[in-house]
Structure formats: C-alpha cells, structure tokens
Symmetry: C2
Subunit: 342 residues, 2 copies
C-alpha cells in the first residue's frame, strides 16, 4: 500500500537494495548499465527516497535552518531570498525560523531543530558571544551580519560604509551627528556606532549616541525626539525602519528634512525609496550575503572539523544617496550639547 521502497525497486530492477541505494546516493561507483536499469525501475514505480530513513542512518538531513531576529523586518527579505536560492541549488531545504527579537526564543528554536537540520544560519543573532561559541562548537554554524572570533560569518561591511556616511555628511557641511542606536545585543549596532564615532573624529565632527531603540518604525518617534534634543544636524538611524519612523516624527514636528536636519538609514529596504523624503541609506547586496553564508555552511558540511581558518566573508556595502540628506543650513557651529543661542 505504502510508497515504493528500495526493496521494490531492487526487485523490479533485479539488483540488491544496496545497489539501488548507491545509485541514488553516490555519484560514480556504478555501471552505467545497472544504473539505467535501476533508474528505469524507480521511475516506473514512482519511487522517491525517504528523507527520514536516509537521515536516520546517514545523519545528513539536507536541510539547513536560518534563524532571523525578526521575520517582519524587510531587511531580511533579500537575505532570505539569497540563502534560499543557494540552498535549493544544492538540493538543500531552507527552514526559516523566527526569533522575534528574543534571545531565549532564538536559543529554544535552535535546540528544537538540532536533530532535524545539518546546520544553522544565524542572522543578526542576539546571543552573547560565549553562547554562540558553544552553539558553534556543537553544530555547524554560520553567522550573518555578526562576527565572533573563531566562528564562520558573512557580513555586509559596516566600517567603510560608515566612513562614507560621515564623509557625505561632512561634505554637506555638517559638524555634528547623532547615532540612533539599535538593540543592545546587536553586533551591527555596536559596529556602526564605533565606526561612525571614529570616522567622525577623523573628520572633525562631533558624534553622540542615543538609544538603544527597537529597530521599528514605531520606535522612530521617541528616537527622533531624543535626537532633536542632542542638537545635531545629522541623524544616523540604526536601520531604515527606525529612520522612517524618525522622518515621520520630524514631519509631525515640522522639522524639515533635509532643510533642518539630514537623516541617514541602513539596509536600503524597499520602502527607503518610497518614503518622503526618500531616504539616504547604506545598502548592499543582501542576497549575496545570504548566498555566501549558505556557501560557507555547505563548505563546512563537506569537511567537518576542518581545522583551517574560519571563513569570514565581508561583502561591500554601498551608500545610496537620496533626498533625506542635504547641506547644513542651521546656525553656525552649534556644538551638539551646548544650548548656545543664535
């Protein structure tokens, strides 16, 4: 009654079950003639290998899990897409898992899946470093947009990108910027702030940070108010979602963008091009990051316990100039914290 098995195929083809297994499992190691016989029989019977039976003995499941910190963040779309395509190309199934910005949930999901997948892609993980080290020691893991020494990773480069943001703002005459920080456990948030601060110092700009903020449109209101309070003329938000929220709040308060302040985001999500004004943002080929991450993971699945260097891929980011940044037109030289009248 059930589905045909290798036994059925073996019988019809007149070979042993192990031969059938080999035809579907190993590339060479079989005569063309017998392979054809087996394949013909399989087709005839409508045979499909049972992945669970296969996994049970081989411990390979042909699936990988991608854990994202928040599935509703558009930033992940391209990432997911790239990973999905690469996985499919290698005949792997991609399981998407949502951590909903919760450290605990992220960990729970990983544990739940350890036996069902061959490896993990952890995107924007909020785990502490040592927890990640532990996970990486137990399973094949590739970090996305996060770096931890000794763990494979694929990231969109933030440092040079932030330098470009600062250079762009400086060239427009801005002398002060405020970074509206992302979640406290976000590696990207930390990296961006460090890079912005250093670049600002080099450029002779002052830089302060407010936050942290949940990277959502909703949080933009509070973020905008705090940013205004810093007196800076350029706001760099942790991501586009937050930046869009900031733009809204500024509009509500009749602060003109880029007339009064300039606003920059990160990620270059679809909506960055639609909001008013359209958003200057640091983007990049996110789908390539996803693709690269899968590639690294597949590589490590190929030869486990490889003691070579851990691959850490960095893909270039790209500053997309739009309408939310413009020349500084406010009072001259107002220091960010000083309430100097003008």
């Amino acid at each position: 009654m059930g589905n045909p098995t290798i036994y059925d195929v073996a019988r019809v083809a007149g070979v042993a079950t192990s031969t059938v297994s080999r035809v579907f499992g190993k590339p060479g190691r079989i005569t063309d003639a017998t392979r054809d016989r087996v394949l013909r029989a399989a087709r005839e019977l409508g045979y499909e290998p049972n992945p669970h039976a296969r996994a049970l003995t081989s411990n390979r499941t042909q699936t990988i899990a991608m854990v994202v910190s928040d599935i509703t963040n558009p930033h992940f779309f391209e990432l997911i897409r790239g990973a999905e395509m690469r996985a499919k190309a290698a005949a792997y199934t991609l399981v998407l898992v949502n951590a909903e910005e919760s450290t605990r949930m992220e960990l729970e999901q990983v544990r739940r899946l350890t036996r069902s997948v061959d490896g993990f892609l952890l995107a924007a993980s909020r785990q502490p470093d040592d927890e990640l080290a532990e996970l990486a020691a137990a399973h094949p893991v590739v970090l996305i947009n996060r770096r931890v020494p000794g763990i494979a990773s694929a990231v969109l480069e933030p440092w040079e990108g932030c330098r470009q943001i600062v250079a762009h703002l400086a060239s427009l005459g801005h002398t002060s910027l405020t970074y509206l920080a992302g979640p406290p456990n976000s590696w990207m948030a930390a990296s961006r702030w460090t890079a912005l601060r250093d670049a600002a110092a080099e450029a002779g700009m002052s830089a302060v940070r407010t936050g942290p903020y949940t990277p959502t449109v909703k949080s933009g209101g509070a973020a905008a108010d705090a940013a205004i309070g810093t007196g800076a003329t350029a706001f760099v938000a942790h991501n586009d979602l937050l930046a869009i929220g900031v733009l809204r709040r500024l509009a509500d308060r009749s602060v003109r963008v880029p007339g009064d302040v300039s606003v920059v985001g990160f990620d270059d999500i679809f909506a960055a091009d639609l909001c008013t004004p359209s958003l200057t943002t640091l983007g990049g080929a996110h789908s390539d990051v996803g693709r690269a991450a899968v590639e690294i993971l597949l590589e490590s699945l190929g030869h486990p316990r490889d003691h070579g260097a851990t691959p850490e891929i960095v893909l270039p980011s790209q500053l997309v100039l739009r309408a939310s940044t413009g020349p500084r037109t406010g009072p001259d030289d107002r220091p960010p914290a000083g309430p100097r009248q003008n």
Copy 2:
C-alpha cells in the same frame, strides 16, 4: 559517542524502551512515578528524541510547508508570521518555500517535500484547479487566498471589499474605473475583477480591465500607461506593489493623484502608507489568515480522511482610505471608451 537514545534512557531508568517512547509520545497512559523516573534519566543523559527515527515509524514529521508564490512580496510577511506563530504554538516547524511565481517550481517543491512534511499551505497558488485537486487528494493541503471546491482554504474576502472600493469611488463622483489585472493564474485576480465589474455595474459605473501584469513595482509603468489609455478616472491595481509602480509612472507623466485620477491597491502593505501620495488600499488581518490556515491544516491532520464539510474560512477585509483617492475633477461624464469632447 553518539547522542543518547531511548535505550540509554531505558537502561538508566530501569524500564523498557517502549515506556520511554510513551513518556515522550503519549500524554497519559503512564504512572506518574515511572514518568518521573524516565524524565529524570532523560534529563541526566541530555536525551532528545530523534525526529527522523520518529518520522520513520510514525509517518508524522511535525513540520508543515508553506509555499508562497513570491517570497519577496511584502504581502506575505504577515501571512507567514501568523502561520509561523500558530505552527510553533502546536510544536510544529514551518518550512518556507518560494515558488518564484513559477507554476512548475511550485509543483517541484511540493513533490520534493512530500515525504518531509505532514501537510502543505499553498499561498496564492498558481496551479490549475485540477492539479490542486490532485495534490489535495494525495496530501493534506490548505489553500491560502484561493478557493477551489472541495479543498480547504482560508482567504481574505475580496467580494465585499471590492464593493466597498467601488462604493468609495462612486461616492467621490467617479463613473469609470480600470482594473490593472494580476497574473493570469491568480484566483485573487479573477475574483477581484469579477467583483469589481459586478459592483461597478450595480453602481452605474463602467469598468474595464487591462493586463495581466506581474504584481511588482516595475510592472507599474506599463500598467499606468495602459490605464491612462482607457480614459478612466479611477485605477484599481491588483496589489499595492503594482499600485506603487503606477503612482510613480503617473508622477513621471505629471498626472496628478488624486487630482486627475484616483488609485487603489490591495493588501495594505507597509509601503502603502509611505509612498506619495499614500495609497488607499484594501487590507485586512493577513496574519489571521495565516493562523487560520494552519489551524485548519492541523485539524485535518488530527483526523485524516474526515468526510465532513471541507472548511473554507473567509476573513473580512477592510478598506483603508488614504491620500491616493479623491473627488473626480475631470471633464463631466466622459464615457471610458467614448472620445466625446468637452
């Protein structure tokens, strides 16, 4: 070396393997005392059931697959989110599969996964009815945003929603509308057109259709041009992505919205509130649709081959009025096809 198995647990707890199996599988049917002993032993050993071994004998995998026609369409985000949450609540894993708007790929993916999942959620499937019937006969299937007689489904109601769109436009003085159609195999596209046409007839409005168009921003250019050619004063686009593309093209051609024409979309995606002008669109609780679909699927997994009525859930849609619709201000009574001067 390997992970602990029920044998290890059974030995440590001093019971039979089947007892261990029952503790993890069945709810009651076991003495509290022995259950405790088993659980303690399991914890001690760090035992985790092997899902593949379990699937091999029980034919239940605790995972369901959701196939979406295009993973990059923001419309699906909430749908996915709702489905994912409901699945997790039932200790099911949700596998996300991308069909990339390809009928063939959709089918391929389903075949590939038949053995690995307990059932399928097919969102906005592009398959012909009879193919779906065949799939549904072979596996538990729930359709999302598509209805086929005899197959379980969860949809966001289009009919009354379209009537509301027409009523809204009529109340603004519009007497003609053009529907910018979605993909030819889209059930939603067909339903929307039928509903719009009928509602328009009732309201004394003329309605024509152009297309089909791929529901993306990029297609909006051609769609807008075609729509302008129809002479209608109200454009109803198949979805928000297309509508946003239309808005852009209209802006490029200096057609004012809503001054010259009104534009309506479907889905109420995030970006609908950000574009300029913001988009009037027919939305709804998409996450509830996803949730409902999972619920139906789980239900059917509970008692397979249930010969009761096939559940067909319809969730209410909701017209969200924004800035892209306004009073008709063009020449009076210009029939859509008639070149009458004014």
